[in-house]
Symmetry: C2
Subunit: 106 residues, 2 copies
């Protein structure tokens, strides 16, 4: 069964303290066992034309689509989503089964 | 030293055979040792409002920013970039040092 990734690309509002949001997300993820991996980053390299104002990427990977569905419905996630939504200026969100061509552990 | 991720979110042109593009990318990555991991996926879940027309995510991770820089400059990558650019309708690109909060191997 394919792993399932929840990818979030965002631009936060100017007044938002990104560290606080990330700490909240970190806490959420640490409480929920069905999140298999969670990484994020702040763009430091792309040309403005290519990043189109977006600044951060957040990726959560689950063992299966069912695990992702359970995560989405979890009350802690629903609660955090409200906080997160209030902090963002724009967002692109993709949810997909992972096609792993090459992995670090291979 | 932090790993470095090259994240590409795209909408391909309607007439493009995505499989061909992905095969090209797979070939490129398999030839270049500095690509540590390469995964991709096609969105199957997000609401149109949230994915904003984007359909595919491609993530390549490198051992360091220097490895990424070497990849960018490699003639095979430069050549493939021309093919890739011709195939896309729109793109968001982010390049960032990876903050790994939780990983599958932890």
């Amino acid at each position: 069964m394919a792993e399932f990734t929840h990818l979030v690309v965002v631009k936060f509002k100017d007044e938002v303290v990104v560290e606080d949001i990330m700490k909240g997300l970190e806490k959420l993820v640490s409480q929920l066992d069905n999140v298999k991996s969670f990484v994020w980053g702040k763009d430091i390299e792309s040309m403005e034309m290519l990043r189109q104002g977006f600044t951060h990427a957040i990726m959560m990977t689950f063992g299966s689509k069912d695990d992702f569905t359970a995560f989405q419905a979890h009350p802690d996630h629903v609660e955090f989503s409200a906080t997160f939504s209030a902090a963002i200026d724009k967002i692109v969100l993709l949810d997909f089964p992972v096609v792993a061509v090459k992995t670090a552990t291979a």
